[in-house]
Amino acid sequence: MKLFGQSLRATIFLVFVCGILYPVAVTAVGKLFFSGQANGTLVRGSNGQIVGSTLIAQGFKDPKYFHPRPSAAMTPDGSAAQPYDAAFSSASNLGPDNSAQIKAMTDAATAYRLENHLLPSALVPIDAVTASGSGLDPDISLANAYLQAPRIAEVRHINPDRVKALIKENTSKPQMGFLGTSRINVLRLNLALDKQP
């Protein structure tokens, strides 16, 4: 009985310290020093409205924008696929020998070549035809971005070299020189495109 009383007191104490006090303390200090990140790294448009977060992919479809990787995110109740839904992150969870997966990748590669006016034999970067782990991957590979550049230059009637220069400016190098990969943040690049005269 004594043990039960001690355990009960410990439970109440620990719920308060670990479940309430600790996250509240982290929030207070975190917001004080890193308020932008603590709120979700949000980006605001010229009118002050939130246009998204640089950490979360948007489902760009318009040919004048760079497109993100395929997404396997789901509807908010998790019942069906809804690509790029930031309220239910998900991967495809398809195995490498699943014929549905092989077909999906083959079809995606064909669609990618058509959209970007590439030859049928042109190799498509693998990140452009595979769904990311979260369904919300904000980045694409450099190869993927450079292959989309001519299409964007054509639709926007700007010099392809200008688009390539923008890609170069918006390339994120590996962190600290060696952690992770070189990559392009799609939202940041598209925002930079929209700023072009």
Partner: protein, 567 residues
């Protein structure tokens, strides 16, 4: 492999090797020094006497009763979520079976997720149920481990220490401060930390988007430091809010790796034989290295089934390449391999990429890590499992030369062997038994997401993960059905406490024995010979028990992919 891959691997492994011994030394100090005044205040508040020594039965009783109440508290919060505060999205409560599964999962340090965090849990549940259970689950594991250590450090003693003192020392001097500090680093790098929940935005193309934020960073650091693994979001560490940069990815697997690889050093210091700790570290680190090599190779391998699709799978200066399905571009293959190998070996179960889309040889490594579950094992009973294997290895060596085996000055007799064997049998019994059942009955088969050997692997992986108190999943398997939610929930509780109680009993028996002085006839357990013996025993045991399902799953899938067969 390109130069950058080698640099990342070298850097990460060096950090593990350099920091782990220091953390081990710090942990030993925690348990070999006097109470702090803050701790005394807590003991007064809880009405416990930290000096009261407990027998193994009292210690085990305290673990069971306190964890029972932790479990009830967590269950009630999840189940009553709808009427609790901080729920502006009016999320409905979890079903009773999923709430049961989740509370069982987090109190046992498994952190298996039969729910989707951002879609189903309010910020209140994420804090008061999930974050709370992550702290207490991991803390219980450490306390139990320290009690088991005392079986070796004490001579002629009937007791194993005081549970409450073991519990709160670690929480106050290591766990809470480390989590607080790392949480701030995660916020700095981009993890949200707020009590808001949904942010509406209008995308550049004019579509509306709902971003889910919350107290993510504070959950993230305890998730990794406690080798817990349950994420704020459904995609876990693959989600850019949980793991925004390659640096957070590296910190996350170091958080789990360093804390667990420090345990052998901690043990060596506690028993006053640092060399023994180093030897045990070498054993688990070599298994860890071997796993990493296979995963990196396997994930970089081009998929022959895509040969006709004109897809560039190789690494080039403009892309990282490899098996990118279910992986994030910012992390690439190497960061994902480092993370996944560590998360499984340390029984965390957090993932930064989809395990279900990994190549079969990688899954083979994950399964073997989980079957062994002793290398290094997390703040579950992982490291205690390694000691159990060491005792059995010494016993076998004793049989070969025909003399009474000794381990660390303690005679190993029939009671210790019986209890070790009992604890050892739990894994094959649960994993193989439940997998066999689930692949023949409709309730088990209907949840599979992938056809062929991959579907079989999903089921095997689920039970191996529940048993190893790991918590990662090949997530295509639908585990929120009542069948899987209840079965895996029960399995997690059995797998945590069935091996733990015999080990405590064994520690109780060992503490009673006199520590024998070392003689010229003593079999030394801090030598390279012992490394080979222990590794051999572990691999032999795992191979004899688990080779058939490994052949039916990952090996079959690997060979069929090489032969161009898809399912």
């Amino acid at each position: 492999m390109i130069a950058n891959d080698w640099i990342q691997i070298f850097f990460s492994l060096t950090m593990v090797v350099l920091i782990s011994p220091l953390v081990g030394r710090y942990l030993a100090w925690i348990y070999q020094s006097h109470h702090l005044s803050l701790e005394r205040t807590v003991y007064r508040l809880l009405n416990v006497d930290p000096e009261k020594e407990m027998t193994w039965k009292e210690y085990g009783g305290a673990i069971v009763v306190s964890n029972g109440l932790f479990f009830v508290a967590g269950f009630l919060v999840l189940w009553a979520q709808a009427i609790l505060p901080l729920n502006p999205r009016h999320l409905s409560p979890l079903t009773a079976e999923v709430a049961f599964n989740t509370a069982a999962s987090f109190v046992t340090n498994t952190n298996w997720q039969a729910y989707a965090g951002e879609a189903q849990l309010s910020n209140f549940s994420q804090m008061v149920a999930i974050t709370f259970l992550m702290f207490v689950g991991a803390n219980t594991g450490i306390a139990a481990l320290v009690a088991i250590f005392r079986g070796f450090t004490r001579s002629g003693s009937a007791t194993l220490g005081n549970y409450w003192s073991d519990f709160f020392r670690f929480l106050i001097r290591a766990f809470l401060p480390a989590c607080f500090l790392m949480a701030l680093v995660h916020v700095w790098q981009g993890s949200p930390q707020t009590f808001q929940t949904a942010v509406s935005s209008k995308t550049l193309e004019g579509a509306s988007q709902t971003l889910i934020v919350g107290p993510v960073a504070s959950l993230e650091s305890v998730k990794n430091l406690g080798t817990n693994g349950g994420g704020f979001y459904n995609a876990n560490g693959a989600h850019p809010y949980e793991n925004p940069t390659p640096l957070t990815n590296t910190l996350e697997f170091l958080e789990m790796g360093v804390f667990t690889f420090s345990l052998p050093f901690f043990f060596g210091r506690m028993i006053g034989r640092p060399r023994q700790g180093q030897v045990l570290f070498i054993v688990i680190f070599s298994l860890y290295l071997a796993g990493l090599g296979v995963i990196e190779y396997s994930e970089k391998m081009p998929n022959p089934l895509l040969a006709h699709a004109a897809i560039e799978q190789q690494a080039t200066p403009f892309q990282d390449g490899g098996n990118t399905e279910g992986k994030e571009v910012r992390l690439g293959i190497t960061q994902t391999s480092l993370f996944s190998n560590t998360t499984i070996a340390a029984t965390t179960g957090a993932v930064d990429g989809a395990m279900d889309s990994m190549n079969p040889l990688s899954v083979l490594v994950y399964l073997v890590h989980m079957f062994l579950n002793e290398e290094p094992g997390g703040k579950g009973v992982g490291f205690a499992g390694l000691l159990k294997e060491a005792i059995l290895a010494v016993f076998l060596a004793g049989l070969m030369v025909g003399r009474t085996p000794e381990f660390l000055g303690k005679k190993i007799e029939s009671r210790e062997i019986k209890l070790s064997a009992l604890s050892l049998l739990v894994t094959p019994l649960l994993v193989l038994g439940l997998t066999a059942l689930s692949v023949v009955i409709p309730a088990g088969k209907s949840s599979m997401d992938n056809p062929g050997p991959h579907g079989f692997m999903e089921v095997l992986y689920a039970f191996a993960s529940g048993n190893a108190n790991n918590g990662s999943a090949m997530a295509g398997l639908n585990v929120s059905t009542p069948y899987y939610a209840i079965l895996i929930g029960v399995e997690m509780i059995l797998s945590r406490f069935l091996p733990l109680l015999p080990l405590l009993a064994m520690a109780g028996a060992l503490a009673k024995k006199k520590t024998l002085p070392e003689t010229s006839g003593t079999f030394k357990t801090d030598t390279s010979l012992f490394v080979v013996l222990l590794l051999g025993f572990m691999i032999l045991f795992a191979a004899l028990t688990f080779l058939p399902p490994l052949i039916l799953g990952p090996l079959l899938e690997h060979l069929s992919i090489l032969h161009g067969v898809s399912f």
